[in-house]
């Protein structure tokens, strides 16, 4: 410390500084635009902001108003139905496809991209395709009638009791191939020697699945769950394109609720509080997951 810095010293000093300098713009941006903004929105959720942000604090008023709104309770009920079915069905289909594809299937190279390509599409495109495919007047129902099955009826998309399930269908269509890819990678990572040994010992297929294969797929199950659940909470585009939240409010989700309260109904305080609830839902899933994953690496 006391000695005058030589040129070499300066250079090493600089060398240790450069990495941090390189990282700092990204960090600054993340801290401002992610964490700073989160704090700002949380603050707004405690104010009486309407069309413009106001800094007049009102305590938990927005939250208590929020949970008295039937519009919001419909949204979270819908999210519950949607997320549960979307995660469950995507996982089942993904696991089924991966398991079957892993049975030395001819044409696997052709089937895999067919299962996966919807993932490359925008939810707006997916919504456009399914909206019409499910439209009773022109899509599937109409076609069945033309083919002579007069009594066939499939009007879920127009029926407020069932419309939310059409969102599930389209969302599963879009993401289940991706879940398949995750499980397939998991299956291909299992040591074949263990399976051979179990087979020698006379284990049945079912036993091998329950005792060896499924337990080894735990990480894949976990990743699929985490990714699907955060997609479910964030779902916005698909609803807008497929049903626009309707019929009535039958397919409103928290994401569409937040948008309409903040930007069209000018209830920014309530919109902000709904965004905070969405963030907390995702954080409850992501934070423990990320914590565990990043700790393991040490």
């Amino acid at each position: 410390m006391a000695s005058a810095p030589t040129q070499a010293d300066l250079k090493t000093r600089l060398q240790t500084l450069i990495p941090k300098l390189v990282l700092s713009p990204s960090l600054a941006v993340i801290f401002l635009f992610v964490y700073g903004f989160i704090i700002f929105t949380v603050y707004l959720s405690f104010t009486d902001s309407r069309i413009l942000p106001s800094f007049n604090l009102v305590g938990f008023e927005n939250y208590s108003k929020l949970f008295r709104l039937s519009h919001w309770t419909t949204s979270i009920t819908n999210l519950g139905i949607f997320a549960g079915l979307y995660i469950g069905i995507s996982t089942l289909i993904g696991l089924g496809l991966a398991t079957f594809l892993d049975q030395k299937i001819r044409g696997e190279g052709l089937l895999r991209p067919i299962y996966l390509y919807p993932m490359a599409l925008s939810f707006i495109v997916t919504g456009t395709a399914w909206k019409w495919f499910l439209d009773p007047g022109i899509g599937l129902e109409h076609t069945m009638h033309l083919w002579g099955w007069e009594s066939f009826s499939f009007d879920w998309i127009k029926n407020s009791d069932y419309a939310i399930y059409t969102v599930v269908i389209a969302a599963v269509w879009q993401s289940s191939g991706f879940v398949m890819a995750m499980f397939l990678a998991g299956l291909r990572g299992i040591d074949n020697e263990i399976l051979k040994a179990a087979q020698m010992d006379g284990a049945s297929n079912w036993q091998m699945y329950r005792r060896i294969i499924l337990p080894q797929l735990r990480p894949a199950f976990l990743s699929a769950f985490v990714i699907l659940s955060h997609l479910a909470v964030k779902s916005y585009d698909l609803v807008i394109a497929l049903t626009g939240g309707g019929p009535g409010r039958a397919t409103e989700l928290p994401a569409t609720f937040m948008y309409s309260y903040t930007f069209t109904r000018n209830q920014m305080g309530i919109g902000a509080s709904s965004a905070v609830i969405m963030l907390m839902t995702i954080a409850a899933i992501m934070v423990p997951y990320l914590y565990a994953e990043l700790r393991e690496k040490k």
């Binding site: 989160i38 929105t41 996966l116 925008s122 707006i124 269509w173 807008i240």
Partner: protein, 293 residues
């Protein structure tokens, strides 16, 4: 990624194999049908769609709907077709992907080869930013873009996509560089190579695969974005996803389904092409989307 010859094939009888094939084929049909029908019907005149069967092939093949969707369809108040919005998307996606990928590569390099106290926490904070519901940043972002004069501009959208894309690009490069031999980096340091020298001459040459993965991922995400485009853009900057939604959900006039379908295919084409050309990388990208590399 393990080799493709490793499978968990079980002893299966002929009947169960037939069942497996049947299931796989039916599922393939499920994935292909909506999009395939959309393509077929985009090639029909409107009268054949409203009056006919969606499953039948066009009696009269026509590209009229494709032409209309591209250059004459009414979107919002202007009969511009999707063309200007397609270019808006390109102008937004190219710089946003480039910038976020470069930043991600540099961040990944620092976080793995120049580690310091607390770097894991900082990485964790960056990573969490990938998963936040964007509703939580919409209000302040609208304010900031408004105050800086970037609201309604492509530059504003590029900024937004770079900010919320850094987390993923950093994740990809960090996971990739984590398994890159640190000895090579050390040796180069001994030889007097500096921070950028090492990055340029030692890590860059072998970063091809992960760069492709990162570019595909960012391209798909940013091209397909709807929320930011709908919130922060106006005519001069609206991306094609927003324009497509306006086209399909406009309540005025006759619903020209064939034009809607052609429009949807335009919006899907770039990402589908990327997927077809580099699909294998795409899958790998999805896989490394889970936190572990």
């Amino acid at each position: 990624m393990s080799v493709a010859t490793q499978d968990t094939a079980l002893r299966t009888g002929r009947i169960s194999r037939a069942f497996i094939y049947l299931f796989l084929l039916l599922m393939a049909l499920f994935y292909l049908l909506p999009f395939a029908i959309m393509v077929i019907n985009s090639l029909k005149p409107l009268s054949e769609i409203t009056g006919g069967n969606m499953m039948s092939l066009p009696r009269e093949w026509t590209l009229d709907a494709w032409r209309a969707a591209w250059s004459t369809a009414q979107i919002g108040v202007e009969p511009t077709g999707l063309k200007p919005y397609f270019w808006n998307s390109i102008k937004m996606v190219v710089p946003a992907v480039a910038i976020s990928t470069v930043l991600g590569a540099l961040n990944g390099y620092v976080l793995t080869k120049w580690r310091f106290r607390g770097d894991t926490i900082l990485f964790g904070l960056m990573l969490f930013s990938c998963f936040i519901p964007f509703q939580i940043v919409l209000i302040p972002m609208a304010r900031v873009l408004g105050l800086t004069g970037l609201a309604g501009t492509t530059t504003g959208l590029i900024l937004v996509h770079v900010v919320y894309g850094i987390g993923f690009s950093t994740l990809y490069f960090r996971n990739y560089y984590a398994v890159f031999p640190t000895e090579l980096v050390r040796a180069a340091m001994m030889d007097g190579a500096g921070f950028f020298g090492i990055f340029w001459r030692i890590l860059m040459p072998s970063s091809g695969p992960i760069t492709v993965v990162c570019i595909i991922w960012q391209f798909t995400n940013i091209w397909n974005d709807f929320l930011f485009g709908a919130s922060f853009a106006d005519f001069d900057s609206q991306p094609i996803t927003v324009a497509l939604n306006n086209l399909v959900n406009s309540s005025t006039g006759v619903k020209e389904y064939n034009v809607h379908f052609a429009g949807a295919i335009y919006a899907a084409l770039p990402t589908l092409l990327v997927y077809i050309v580099a699909g294998r990388y795409f899958v790998r990208g999805l896989m490394s989307g889970s936190v572990k590399g």
